[in-house]
């Protein structure tokens, strides 16, 4: 089963796994990950895998770096 690094930012910080790593079942996609974490639907606005914008159906692989954000902005 793939081990990923995961960082949940801003208001999602409470969902961070210990040591920033977690093991996910084979073929887990981002939607599945968000559900596993128990994050209420709609709270995640931006999802990145290895620094690239990703969609819900992206399947996670060993060593992936995942970043999840609520809506944030500034400038």
């Amino acid at each position: 089963m793939p081990v990923i690094t995961l960082k949940c930012y801003a208001t999602l910080a409470a969902y961070n796994p210990p040591k920033g790593e977690m093991t996910v079942p084979e073929s887990t996609n981002l939607a599945g990950l968000v559900e596993m974490l128990g994050i209420p639907p709609g709270e995640v606005k931006l999802m990145f895998v290895n620094g690239r914008g990703a969609r819900q159906d992206q399947v996670l692989s060993e060593g992936d770096r995942v970043g999840l954000f609520p809506p944030v902005g500034g400038g």
């Binding site: 801003a10 931006l46 990145f48 620094g51 690239r52 954000f69 609520p70 944030v72 902005g73």
Partner: protein, 578 residues
């Protein structure tokens, strides 16, 4: 807002003023007005610090009304930093008071006679201009201490620090916030030096006895105003993200996506981003009893600001913003929020643009004058600039001049103005804006981060060249419009995502001024502002070659995505020359 106050600093016996009707400038406000006046009245080939240049301070079309978040001030001139036209934009209380006093603009013009410094005082009683040489080389906070009882809670102070007085190409015009502190700055392009060149140190605005401007159609205005506020409150960024974290929530985000320019644009991810992030800042602020959710002016419903307290719980500066945290933080490898907040305070005090200053310090670090990460050294350098030492005057002349003086090739500048906190190689839409904006490198001129990273107003892959020119072009036009209304640029998040909020903005303009604009007219307004600005720059000698990024962005790949800036030159030319 039916008159323009013109102060001729070259008049016999000291500055004289007159009040003109709007004439051909009727119907313009904010950036549209400053750029129209500069375009029409300032010879494009003049020296920015010479007698022919003018400094124009203009509230927006909706400033001083009950419309939410409408208190921005446009400051225009020919820029000492870029040599092109400039509109620098500031929050704070100044624009609202100026608008309520009835002024569409203040224009400082003419040739300064001698070295005397003057203060301008404006109230419902009228205008006074007085010589005050005791103000020489006072900083903005020293001016606050001296004058806070004069401008008071209902007024505001517009001032220059030591940088503007010394004519440095990095120098701001400061505007006091709701607490009367000089924390809001028309930061970019050296506008403070132009005010200094006119010998005007401070403008004190007394708002006593003034009221909100009255709309032509009060009922329709009230209705539009309500819908506009609902739009801002319901959008997740303007309603939640910005009030909670301020703008600094972007630190972690830009680092995560690999677009955070680290150590003078050497890499796109900063290993210490979390230490200086909005999240860490909020935590620290809470521990020390500081505040968030404050507006920079009355009637702001976004409230991205707050206060930053030092280790002893004493006020140090306002909630430090993303660009500043980046420029003095990640760009210099400094990961100490207290050092960054101190730098922010010093920049405000001396009247320095935090972006330009941070990038200049990053270049000094690249040149080996001090190591990356040296917060204490950076603080000393800002003091050198503020006090005008030999090295300080070089650093205070901006990033481009600093790089040249120190023999550094990798100067991240366009038209002589420092590139802000989004690496153009990994956020390519911003690269197009930096290259093609008549303002020089300026993220606020067309905030492509919205669609590139934030997924606001569309979804355009930040790492691909495709679609970026179109995105930037449309945003630059929208931004020029928003800058003319006096609205805070952050309303754009809600306006881009919610057609009903754009309609509310159009309805605000129509009901206030008795107009019948459509959404298309609003876009056309922005385009005409850009046309004026580009025409001025052409006459000042700018060509298509000036609408380019420095070559190292094409030649050096940026980690972690190993990308360069590959938007074709024809695409850039389409934006600025169509």
């Amino acid at each position: 807002m039916d008159k323009i106050l013109r102060i001729d600093v070259g008049a016999e016996g000291g500055p004289a003023f007159r009040e003109d009707p709007l004439g051909s400038y009727a119907g313009l406000g904010g950036r549209a007005l400053t750029s129209a006046i500069i375009h029409a009245e300032v010879p494009a080939d003049c020296h920015p610090l010479g007698p022919e240049n003018k400094l124009v301070l203009a509230p927006g079309l909706l400033t001083g009304t009950a419309a939410a978040s409408s208190g921005r001030l446009s400051v225009g001139c020919k820029s000492p930093l870029t040599g092109g036209i400039k509109e620098a934009n500031a929050g704070g209380a100044g624009a609202q008071v100026l608008a309520r006093l009835g002024y569409a603009a203040i224009v400082l013009e003419g040739e300064r006679q001698g070295d005397d410094l003057y203060k301008v005082m404006i109230s419902t009683e009228g205008v006074r201009v007085e010589k005050d040489n005791e103000l020489k080389l006072l900083t903005n906070y020293q001016l606050m201490d001296r004058f806070s009882t004069v401008y008071g809670k209902k007024g505001a102070m517009i001032s220059i620090g030591t940088a503007g007085e010394m004519g440095l190409a990095n120098s701001t015009v400061a505007v006091t916030d709701m607490e009367g502190r000089p924390t809001r700055h028309a930061g970019r392009g050296g506008v403070g030096a132009v005010m200094g060149s006119k010998g005007i140190k401070v403008i004190l605005l007394d708002g006593t006895g003034t009221r909100n401007r009255e709309p032509k159609d009060p009922e329709a205005f009230k209705d539009a105003s309500k819908r506009f506020v609902e739009g801002l409150r319901s959008h997740p960024i303007t309603g939640q993200g910005l009030p909670t974290y301020g703008t600094n929530s972007l630190t972690n985000l830009l680092s995560e996506v690999g677009g955070y320019p680290t150590r003078n644009f050497r890499q796109g991810r900063y290993e210490d981003a979390d230490k200086i992030s909005g999240e860490s800042q909020v935590e620290l602020t809470a521990q020390r009893g500081g505040k968030g959710r404050r507006g920079c002016h009355r009637g702001c419903v976004i409230q991205c600001s707050g206060t930053y307290l030092d280790k002893n719980g004493q006020y140090l500066t306002k909630r430090v913003q993303y660009e500043t945290v980046w420029a003095h933080g990640g760009n210099c490898g400094i990961s100490d929020l207290d050092a960054i907040a101190q730098l922010d305070h010093l920049d405000d005090d001396y009247g320095l643009d935090t972006i330009e200053m941070g990038v200049a310090i990053g270049l000094a670090m690249e040149a080996g004058l001090l190591p990356f990460g040296d917060g204490k050294g950076a603080v000393e350098l800002v003091h050198e600039v503020g006090k005008g030492t030999r090295l300080g005057r070089i650093l205070g002349s901006g990033a481009a001049s600093t790089a040249k003086a120190l023999g550094i090739e990798r100067a991240p500048v366009v038209k002589g103005q420092a590139i802000p906190a989004y690496d153009p190689r990994a956020v390519k839409g911003m690269g197009v804006t930096y290259a093609t904006s008549p303002q020089g490198a300026d993220h606020t001129a067309g905030y492509a981060v919205a669609a590139n990273i934030l997924k606001v107003g569309g979804d355009v892959d930040p790492l691909s060249a495709a679609g970026q020119a179109e995105l930037s072009r449309d945003l630059q036009a929208l931004t020029a419009t928003v800058d003319s209304t006096g609205m805070c640029l952050f309303i754009v998040f809600a306006v881009l995502d919610q057609p009903e909020t754009l309609q509310a903005l159009v309805d605000l303009l129509n009901s206030f001024h008795g107009l019948t604009l459509t959404g298309d007219d609003v876009a056309a307004l922005g385009k005409s502002v850009l046309e004026d600005e580009r025409d001025f720059n052409r006459r000042a000698g700018f060509t298509a070659e000036d609408d380019r990024l420095p070559s190292f962005f094409r030649m050096e790949k940026l980690a972690p995505h190993d990308v360069d800036f590959d938007v074709p030159e024809e695409e850039l030319d389409k934006v600025s020359r169509e």
